[in-house]
């Protein structure tokens, strides 16, 4: 089922665990070397930065190959069906190359294989859209089947996420066609599926045989928590029903059962946070944090409780003081929580992502007032203008 050798994947995990133990000085360097030698990994996985480059370049190759193919087959492609066929053909070629690369070159999350996998799936699935007369539910179903098969074979977490969303899309598109009763229960149906999938993902990840899919299961559980919330979020329910079911609500008008959805909107994120802290579960905790923002957004969208700027100042104060209090509180680790940085150095840290985010959100100073010293005045550029002061 899996394209990769299961033994090698196990060895990879053992090596990673041993490296963690080495970093914490639990084992010695000779021990680490011995473990590494006893569990060889022959996968080719480049540096994560190079991986991004390889991904981009493979996308370039796939796109231009597709261009070349369509140019050569111009005469045969008289209509959309012809082009859709070409897409399916190109997708299958991508898949074939992917299989060969994995078997012969032992690529494992190397950028090239990710690009080929995405290329294959996108090409095959987009052919249905190109043809144009296939219903949305069929598209969702096919996407779901293709991505589920791809997940089983390659254990790619992003594709597992797409598979889950396509599955929900299929349920949704089928349900809304079934009539008024089905339309009313759609939110509850999605909630039910989400929670079932979440519990199932938790249960499955406990099995030893699912160990190679643990990242896929994590992403599916994050998405299922999000969809569980969004299915009952007041904003989503109101706007989607208004849009899809032609309720023609006026501003200020509400949907049936509004009270339930309002309570649901406000309570679920808090429940996530509570469970996340209780169970020390990062997935629940972070999802809860993101969804707190969703509560604020939903309430503010319908009720302007406070003017925006006052709300921002108060919110900012609450967050800053709250975080400050938490840091003070966790100065000494309490109840198994700590403020100390996790020891594993992350890529985001190395690329100074934080400072880039600060630069992204920062708008420098006042805008030019439109006088004569605006820049670009001469070929001397910035250097020249500074002399004027």
């Amino acid at each position: 089922m899996l394209a990769y050798n299961s033994q090698t994947l196990d060895n990879l995990e053992i090596q990673e665990e041993a490296e963690k133990a080495l970093r914490k000085n639990c084992i010695t360097v000779p021990t680490y070397k011995a473990i590494e030698a006893a569990h060889p990994v022959n996968f080719y996985t480049p540096n994560p930065v190079i991986k991004i480059g390889l991904f981009i370049l493979t996308v370039v190759i796939i796109s231009f190959s597709l261009g070349l193919l369509s140019l050569m087959a111009m005469d045969m492609l008289r209509n959309e069906d012809g082009f859709a066929g070409l897409c399916i053909f190109a997708g299958l070629v991508c898949y074939g190359i992917l299989e060969i690369f994995i078997r012969e070159k032992k690529l494992f999350r190397a950028g090239v294989d990710d690009a080929l996998l995405w290329g294959a799936i996108l090409l095959i699935c987009s052919s249905m859209v190109i043809v144009g007369h296939i219903s949305a539910s069929t598209v969702c179903l096919v996407v779901c089947i293709v991505t589920v098969l791809a997940t089983l074979r390659f254990a790619d977490m992003m594709i597992a996420g797409v598979a889950y969303l396509a599955f929900l899309g299929f349920i949704f598109t089928v349900a809304i066609k079934l009539g008024p009763v089905a339309k009313t229960i759609v939110p509850f149906l999605i909630m039910f599926i989400s929670i079932t999938v979440y519990i199932a993902a938790k249960k499955i990840s406990a099995y030893h045989s699912s160990r190679h899919y643990k990242h896929c299961l994590t992403i599916v559980s994050v998405l299922s928590l999000l969809t569980l919330y969004l299915a009952g979020n007041y904003f989503v329910v109101r706007e989607v029903s208004n849009e899809m079911f032609d309720l023609q609500l006026q501003d200020g008008q509400s949907i049936p059962g509004a009270i339930f959805f309002w309570i649901y909107t406000a309570v679920i994120p808090v429940v996530y946070l509570y469970l996340g802290i209780r169970k020390k579960d990062t997935v629940l905790l972070r999802t809860g944090m993101i969804l707190l923002a969703a509560i604020v957004f939903t309430i503010r969208y319908y009720h302007s409780v406070l003017p925006l700027e006052t709300a921002m100042v108060i919110g900012g104060l609450v967050l800053t003081v709250g975080a400050w209090a938490l840091i003070r509180y966790l100065k000494e680790p309490k109840h198994g929580f700590t403020y100390a940085e996790p020891e594993d150095p992350s890529l985001a840290d190395k690329l100074r992502l934080e400072s880039l985010i600060i630069a992204q959100t920062y708008v420098p100073g006042a805008q030019p007032a439109g006088n004569d010293v605006q820049f670009g005045g001469g070929t001397g550029g910035g250097g020249g203008a500074s002399g004027g002061y």
Partner: protein
């Protein structure tokens, strides 16, 4: 860590009992870190606070007195800076770790409110005269000094953004391409000068050990700006594009050598990718002159073949830098 893995390793006699016990104790003492969660909250708080204050002032300019507003911002700004000055570790040209987590954000809030303060002074009283440059130059100076004095990478990025704004370029990461009109010749030259300046600063801070950890940020902004300016030059100039190509090759060679010295994959990658873009523009420019359908085929074949070539190149570079940092 996964205890089961280590128990298996113990069974295979690859680790001894002492090591297994050490792993188990370490795992038992493993704490749940809220580091990133709290940092995110703090950062959001600071952003909301400074943004909210900005809008508050903008909206209430007519009702509250200007002095009152100035006073409020001034007090917050002064409070943040005085907190930072009291808490800071002594200055050094080496990396200085921040005394506590709150420090970084207090400094950030101080800097953001300072920018608002100066902007407000300028807007209301034209305190710095009509020469627009001065009103941007003062925040630039304060941000730069703060970045070095308190050792803060985020403030350094703000200072660089401000420097670029002062010179007339928006270098905010996601707006680098959309907010600038790289069709204009002046902007291209400004970009080259700014990028060159930042690369020089990176070079100096790395070689002279002056806040060596700032080098990455300087080089990151500098390399992207100068490369984009060169690529723009190659597209805009119909006659002189070959000169831009040659100039870019020189710059690329320099950055590439530095990247190898620092064992930085990130800069190796961006140099290779920008170099590839430049080469492709050159090839396309040459192919356009052939004015023939065969040129299109040749172009497509070039892209497929060259991309494969670059992949092979990257893989072999990956092998050359064994223990890369980034």
């Amino acid at each position: 860590m996964n205890i089961k893995v280590f128990e298996k390793l113990r069974a295979a006699a690859l680790i001894n009992d002492a090591e297994l016990t050490a792993v188990k104790t370490a795992e038992d003492q493993q704490l749940f870190s809220l580091h990133w969660e709290i940092k995110t909250l703090l950062y959001l708080g600071v952003l909301l606070l400074s943004g909210g204050l900005g809008i508050l002032i903008y909206k209430n300019i007519d009702t509250i007195g200007h002095q009152v507003i100035l006073l409020i911002i001034g007090v917050i700004c002064a409070g943040c800076f005085s907190y930072c000055i009291r808490k800071k570790a002594p200055f050094s040209w080496a990396k200085v770790n921040s005394p506590n987590a709150f420090f970084d954000y207090a400094l950030l809030l101080g800097c953001l409110t300072f920018v608002t303060f100066v902007g407000y002074l300028q807007f209301q009283y034209t305190a710095f005269g009509t020469a627009y440059g001065l009103a941007t130059f003062i925040p630039l100076a304060v941000l730069t000094v703060s970045a070095y004095y308190f050792d803060h990478l985020g403030v350094l990025s703000m200072a660089i953004t401000n420097l670029a704004a002062w010179m007339g370029i928006a270098v905010t990461p996601f707006q680098l391409l959309s907010a600038n009109d790289f069709g204009s010749v002046q902007l291209i030259y400004t970009g080259v000068i700014l990028g060159g300046l930042l690369l020089l600063l990176a070079f100096i801070s790395a070689r002279k050990n002056l806040k060596k950890h700032f080098a990455f940020t300087y080089q990151n902004f500098g390399a992207h700006i100068i490369f984009i300016a060169c690529v723009a030059g190659m597209c805009v100039y119909d006659a002189g594009w070959l000169a831009w190509f040659a100039f870019m090759a020189v710059i690329g060679f320099f950055i590439f050598k530095e990247a190898f010295r620092e064992r930085s994959f990130y800069f190796v990658l961006i140099t290779v990718l920008y170099g590839y873009i430049a080469l492709s523009i050159a090839v396309v420019r040459l192919l356009i002159t052939t004015n023939d359908i065969g040129g299109v085929y040749l172009g497509l074949l070039y892209f497929i073949g060259s991309a494969i070539g670059v992949i092979v190149l990257l893989i072999s570079l990956n092998k050359k830098i064994k223990h890369a940092s980034v």
